[in-house]
């Protein structure tokens, strides 16, 4: 282990932890704002720190303070088993967080003859790890629901367990057909496979090569995250809050954060398996490295344009109603953010111009390609997180029997059929 690889490994682990944990407040805020958008209202946008509202993200930090200082309440029957009661949400949270660690954020970084994986856990069995660790999360829910000694909690726990068990079959079979297609269980190799094209012009993304498997796996992943429309486990119209009825303050927050981390992980898996992972369509890592100066100049031109439009949008929208005379510091916030954005753009542009003058294939180009891929990955990840949120606020919650029917009657036979077709194509036609 050289110093370089240690630094890269540490940076990757920090990046993975940040992407999983710092995403939680952003996702909570996004959930409420997108929900507001869909229901034709604004959502939280008033909370501020010294006049900075950042569109309302600050609200999430206020929520954190509220949850931390809230009264800790334990049901009276808990007694000595208190640590078990607290352990349950921790299992759910930890398993969601660990499952995120095998996602590759960029292609292998080759610097000075060393090949380093941009993956917090540099293992070669990524998808198996996700399936294995992801299935542990339900134990936390069942434990929590059971130890609450509450009929609602018990029902919620049973529902979530049976739902998970039934959809894990469809998920596993869908994943098997993808493994047949890619011929690997390594996430990074899967992304490599997707860098080509199909039919000559479409990017060879998993969703375009295997649309049926993509639908099955995405639906099954929705169930794995326990989110609407599959949130019968916490159906508040029937069973109060399901397995988390008796949980308060930070113990509740642990379940809550676990749900968002699981959603983030599921988005990352969908992006990696079906939407080309960290890759830009048509541009594989080799192409990017070979023609980096062209890519750099595209970004140099496109970034200021994008920032200019964003600043104009912000100036137009970051105001109180025209009838209100005071602006509560919103113009000041717009000004400061504009200056910060412009400064960032200038710095990034200067760096990119400097790199584009360097010879192709130098160390700086390789690092820049890696950073670009990380940015692309984060963008795709956010897009799928927003997809999850939009689906939650668009579809009503399925009834329990509908959930089971969909899993056993439709998804399971479909994924089995898909395996047969895939096997015939892969073994019979392609080989």
């Amino acid at each position: 282990m050289s110093t370089l690889s240690i630094v890269v490994t540490l940076a990757t682990i920090v990046l993975a932890a940040l992407l999983a944990l710092l995403m939680i407040p952003v996702l909570v805020w996004l959930e409420r704002r997108v929900c507001g958008l869909i229901q034709d209202r604004l959502g939280p946008n008033r909370t501020n720190l010294f006049g900075f509202r950042l569109g309302g993200v600050v609200q999430s930090f206020a929520d954190v303070i509220k949850l931390v200082v809230k009264e800790e309440y334990y049901p009276s029957h808990i007694g000595k088993g208190r640590w078990l009661f607290v352990l349950a949400p921790m299992i759910t949270f930890a398993s969601a967080l660990l499952a995120f660690m095998v996602i590759p954020f960029a292609d292998d970084l080759v610097l000075y003859g060393e090949r380093m994986k941009i993956q917090a856990l540099p293992v070669e069995y990524g998808i198996l790890w996700y399936l294995a660790i992801g299935s542990v999360g339900v134990i936390g829910m069942v434990f929590g629901g059971w130890m609450s000694h509450n009929k609602y909690s018990l029902l919620g726990a049973l529902r979530s367990a049976s739902q998970m068990v039934s959809y894990e079959l469809a998920l596993g079979l869908g994943v098997i057909s993808m493994i047949l297609t890619y011929g690997t269980i390594d996430f990074n190799a899967m992304v490599h496979w997707q860098s080509g094209t199909v039919l000559g012009f479409l990017p060879a993304w998993g969703a375009l090569v295997q649309p049926l498997a993509a639908i099955v796996v995405i639906v099954a992943l929705f169930v794995e995250t326990n989110r609407a429309p599959f949130s019968v486990a916490e159906g508040e119209s029937e069973i109060v809050a399901g397995f988390m009825t008796e949980y308060t303050a930070m113990k509740f927050a642990m379940y809550f954060m676990g749900e968002y981390v699981a959603m983030n992980t599921a988005s990352a898996v969908i992006v990696t398996m079906f939407f080309g992972g960290y890759q830009l369509p048509w541009l594989s890592t080799e192409t990017l490295t070979a023609h980096f100066s062209a890519v750099a100049w595209t970004i140099v031109v496109a970034l200021p344009l994008f920032v200019w439009f964003f600043i104009r949008w912000m100036k137009k929208n970051n105001t109180v109603r025209p009838t209100v005379s005071t602006d509560w510091g919103r113009h000041f916030e717009t000004k400061v953010l504009s200056v910060v954005l412009i400064a960032m753009t200038v710095v990034i542009d200067l760096i990119l111009i400097y790199i584009s003058t360097l010879p192709e294939g130098s160390a700086a180009t390789t690092v820049a390609v890696t950073l670009l891929q990380i940015a692309v990955f984060v963008m795709k990840l956010m897009a799928f997180n927003i997809f999850f949120i939009v689906v939650r606020w668009t579809l009503p919650r399925f009834r329990y029997d509908q959930v089971q029917t969909l899993g056993w009657r439709y998804l399971l036979p479909l994924s089995l059929l898909n395996i047969f077709v895939t096997a015939i194509v892969v073994v019979g036609v392609l080989s």
């Binding site: 198996l128 294995a132 134990i139 059971w146 049973l158 367990a161 068990v165």
Partner: protein
């Protein structure tokens, strides 16, 4: 040296978890002990560099078996007063320990004598690829027969589960 420390810790986990499963009175504590045992076994596999066995252990034992066990405990929902009365508990424990002690000694002797007699593994041994290849070339017949066995077990389970309904149809 780090391996030995990890091995000791995992062994400790294993023994404490197993004892918890047997001794603890609250079903919740038992279940946590069971979970700890299975995770410790998975950790032992990981320590031996058997990535496939490690993942299969977590996937099957932790992900499926523990959840199903939990559901069973949860549905049965035993109260402490429903437990059978255990008289002569001390006598049983002492008697069983005395009876099993020779076997423990035998086990220890066997393990010590074969400890260094195992062949060295090659590189890649125990990875998912290697396991899959050997399973579908050298062991393909036993593997397929095993699937028949599982099918028979599943059919049996369905028939036992449907028993009452079958009676209804007959009568």
């Amino acid at each position: 040296m780090p391996e030995k420390i990890i091995l000791t810790l995992l062994g400790l986990f294993l023994v404490v978890g197993a004892l918890t499963v047997v001794i603890a009175r609250r079903p919740a504590t038992n279940a946590i002990g069971f979970l700890a045992v299975l995770l410790a076994v998975a950790g032992l596999f990981a320590l031996l560099n058997q990535s496939f066995l490690f993942l299969a252990q977590i996937l099957v034992s932790v992900g499926a078996v523990v959840v199903l066990t939990l559901i069973v405990i949860l549905t049965v929902n035993l109260k402490e007063e429903q437990f059978p009365k255990e008289r002569f508990k001390g006598v049983w424990i002492v008697g069983a320990s005395v009876l099993t002690a020779p076997f423990g000694w035998l086990l220890y002797k066997t393990l010590v004598s074969v400890a260094n007699a195992f062949p060295k593994t090659q590189k890649g041994f125990g990875s998912a690829e290697a396991v899959g290849k050997s399973l579908f070339t050298d062991w393909v017949l036993p593997f397929e027969i095993l699937s028949l066995l599982l099918l028979a077990a599943m059919v049996g389970a369905i028939i036992i589960g449907k028993k009452e309904q079958a009676y209804d149809i007959e009568s």
